[in-house]
């Protein structure tokens, strides 16, 4: 049996590693935002470099999984769906990297009174991504649990939107230049977009889950 499942187990481990990277990227993103808000720019840049590395590895893994699934004609019925899930999940890492990269390029000055809401938005977005990783893992192993995680992703996405809105209102209520308000809004929206990307994957995932049900 072990021999029969040799290729399968290899691809399974690749998928698991890919999802681990997504999860690690989200956690690193949260730490990076914390570093940035606390002014630890050097540490922030290290985390950005880490996320770039994650992104490369995730891309390589995705291509490798894709090649295996097609070459060995594995899961022919669900192959398209699985690849779509992986590609869309990969976009979440891209979003995370893009967001941090913008911080690194523009180095926006964030007033300290925004720190709390900024971190809350970040945590909600990161939680959405973490729940997404659980949902995707369940899609492979425990179909019945997928909807629970999808529900949680939706919850955290709404939470991120809600806190993000408060953050933007606060930004535009502050006595600072309009150009700066506009820049901060751009960064706040960028963080919200991470949870939006997680939700997009979930929308697809819920359809694929219905398709897979007996």
């Amino acid at each position: 049996m072990a021999l029969l499942l040799k290729t399968t187990r290899f691809v399974e481990s690749q998928i698991d590693t890919f999802l681990d990277i997504v999860s690690d990227s989200a956690t690193t993103f949260q730490l990076a935002v914390e570093d940035y808000l606390e002014g630890r720019i050097e540490q922030f840049e290290e985390r950005l470099a880490q996320i770039r590395e994650f992104e490369h590895r995730a891309d390589d893994l995705r291509v490798s999984i894709e090649r295996f699934l097609y070459e060995r004609t594995l899961i022919p019925e669900n192959r398209g769906d699985v690849l779509a899930i992986l590609e869309n999940t990969d976009e979440v890492i891209d979003n995370i990297k893009d967001s941090l990269l913008q911080f690194s390029i523009e180095l926006p000055q964030i007033p300290t009174e925004l720190n709390d809401l900024w971190m809350q938005t970040t945590r909600a977005s990161v939680a959405a991504v973490e729940q997404l990783v659980f949902a995707v893992r369940s899609f492979f192993r425990d179909l019945a649990a997928v909807n629970n995680y999808i529900h949680k992703v939706h919850f955290f996405e709404r939470e991120a939107d809600h806190i993000g809105e408060r953050l933007r209102r606060l930004i535009f209520g502050m006595d600072i230049e309009l150009s700066r308000k506009s820049q901060l809004r751009f960064f706040a929206i960028h963080i919200e977009k991470i949870s939006d990307a997680a939700q997009n994957v979930c929308d697809r995932l819920s359809i694929y889950t219905i398709k897979r049900q007996l």
Binding site: L4, P76, N78, F139, L214
Partner: protein, 496 residues
């Protein structure tokens, strides 16, 4: 000459290979769980094994429906069935090989003035309905069994894929074996009574009977059908008719394989018999109906919303249209072959109600006063006798069939050497062979006369009124042996 005539049977085999293999592997190939080459190889190996090892049971039932006794007739019957299949498949309706061959045999019965044994016909026709319902029920049961198992197993999607893939190979092989066992009778069953193949004794251990050799040839034609045309049909069955996921495809295939096996396995039949359980008639069923039944069963289990009722209706129409059309084509072709090509499509059979046969009929417990209109007369068609006997309301159709069989002239000469040369002696016990040898060179006018002489040996004695399934089975097996002797000892010259 026999091989030329067999061509129509092989054509029928080809169409079965192309059509019915799709019913087994269509969904697996279409969902890309199995590659066509692999599916074709499994189908080829296991259909051949099933046909050669277990094809005898369903063939016997077809033989009782109508024993096509001339090569030209067998050729035409098989050709009519193959043409009907080709015609209906071209219209786009999945067709049943079993139904068309049964329709074509009835066409031969009509043409040759023979009476169709309604009891066998009812057994066959009801088995089609039973097979459809049974496969639906089994599929629904398997579905309800599989659903919680799949949910609870928490196997990775990729591992599940591997298990389903291997299960499809195993169950597909079982399905192909059952299809071969169940449906080979449709392909070459009509040639069994006229087969020239001799039994082959391989080193004294294994005997390959003439019938098995015929089945092997039929199986090879099925294999050709699989490799040349089934890919296209698999696509039609697996994609257009219904869309199944790999797991539901496995469930449908399992139900199909089980049902085909139930209606084909002599081994299972004997096992049920030995356990005193009710047996399942060995009848060629339609793999198309069986797989459709399985899909309907799964569809209903899922709430019934995804069943395409228009397709179901079209298939149901074909259940009636296929045998009727086959009977009509068979009748027309027989007329053409006999009158235009001047080929013999039936043995000329005569029936006589002389002193000897009337005495025998009386011995069998019939009131001979009901035979006043036929007494002393001879006939050349079963139907003519039937019309005469119909005047007497006291006789049932079964009674009339038995009376007709007793009056049939079937001149025989016991030829022990012929039996040995053809290799058919392997089918008989030493005591039975001894009895046949004792009767060597004896000449008989009726089958029952030889049977009566043979019955002086206890091992040739039929149970008078079989009550248990055991006795019925013994009678069936012995009748099969007697039929071998009746065919082997038949004299060319049938008139006195």
């Amino acid at each position: 000459m026999f091989f030329f005539y067999l061509l129509s049977g092989l054509f029928l085999g080809w169409s079965l290979g192309a059509n019915d293999t799709g019913n087994i592997f269509g969904a697996a190939v279409e969902t890309r769980m199995l590659k066509f080459k692999k599916a074709a190889l499994i189908a080829a190996i296991f259909i051949t094994l099933g046909a050669v090892l277990e094809g005898g049971g369903p063939s016997g039932t077809l033989g009782r429906l109508g024993s096509v006794d001339a090569l030209g007739g067998a050729f035409t019957v098989a050709l009519a069935a193959a043409l009907t299949i080709t015609l209906i498949v071209r219209i786009g309706i999945p067709v049943s090989t079993s139904q068309t061959i049964v329709g074509a045999i009835i066409g031969w019965n009509m043409f040759s003035g023979r009476l169709t044994d309604y009891r066998s016909l009812i057994t066959i026709a009801s088995s089609w309905v039973v097979a459809f319902v049974l496969s639906g029920t089994i599929a629904a049961f398997l579905f309800h069994l599989a659903k919680p198992l799949v949910n609870r197993s928490k196997a990775h999607l990729l591992e599940q894929d591997v298990f389903v893939r291997y299960a499809l190979v195993v169950v597909g092989a079982f399905g192909a074996y059952s299809l071969g066992a169940n449906n080979i009778a449709n392909v070459v069953g009509v040639f069994v009574p006229v087969s020239p193949f001799k039994d082959l004794d391989l080193g004294g251990f294994i005997t390959i009977s003439g019938v098995q050799q015929l089945y092997l040839l039929g199986a090879l034609s099925i294999v050709v059908g699989i490799y040349t045309y089934s890919h296209k049909v698999m696509r039609t069955v697996g994609k257009d008719l219904f869309h199944l996921s790999p797991i539901t495809a496995l469930i449908a295939l399992s139900a199909e394989a089980i049902v085909l096996f139930l209606f084909a396995s002599r081994g299972l039949y004997n096992l049920l018999l030995s356990l005193g359980l009710p047996t399942i008639p060995l009848v060629p069923v339609s793999s198309t109906q069986v797989i459709v039944g399985a899909v309907v069963g799964i569809g209903l289990s899922k709430g019934g919303k995804n069943i395409r009722y228009n397709i179901l209706a079209r298939i149901s129409i074909a259940w009636v249209a296929a045998p009727v059309l086959a009977a009509l084509i068979s009748f027309t072709l027989l007329f053409i072959i006999q009158n235009v090509f001047e080929t013999k499509v039936q043995q000329e059979t005569h029936y006589i109600f002389d002193r000897r046969s009337i005495t025998k009929i009386a011995e069998e417990g019939f009131d001979t006063s009901t035979l006043s209109t036929v007494n002393g007369r001879s006939f050349s068609s079963e139907r003519d006798i039937y019309r005469e006997l119909q005047e007497h309301e006291s006789l049932s159709r079964d009674d009339m069939l038995r009376i007709i069989k007793l009056s049939e002239i079937h001149r025989l000469k016991v030829d022990f050497a012929k039996l040995q040369n053809s290799g058919m002696h392997n089918r008989f016990t030493p005591n039975q062979l001894k009895r046949i040898e004792e009767l060597n060179e004896q000449v008989y006018r009726h089958k029952w006369q030889l049977q009566a002489d043979l019955a002086k040996e206890a091992e040739f004695e039929l149970h008078d009124s079989p009550l248990t399934e055991h006795q019925k089975n013994d009678n069936r097996l012995l009748q099969g042996k007697l039929d071998v002797l009746f065919r082997a000892f038949l004299l060319e010259e049938q008139t006195d």
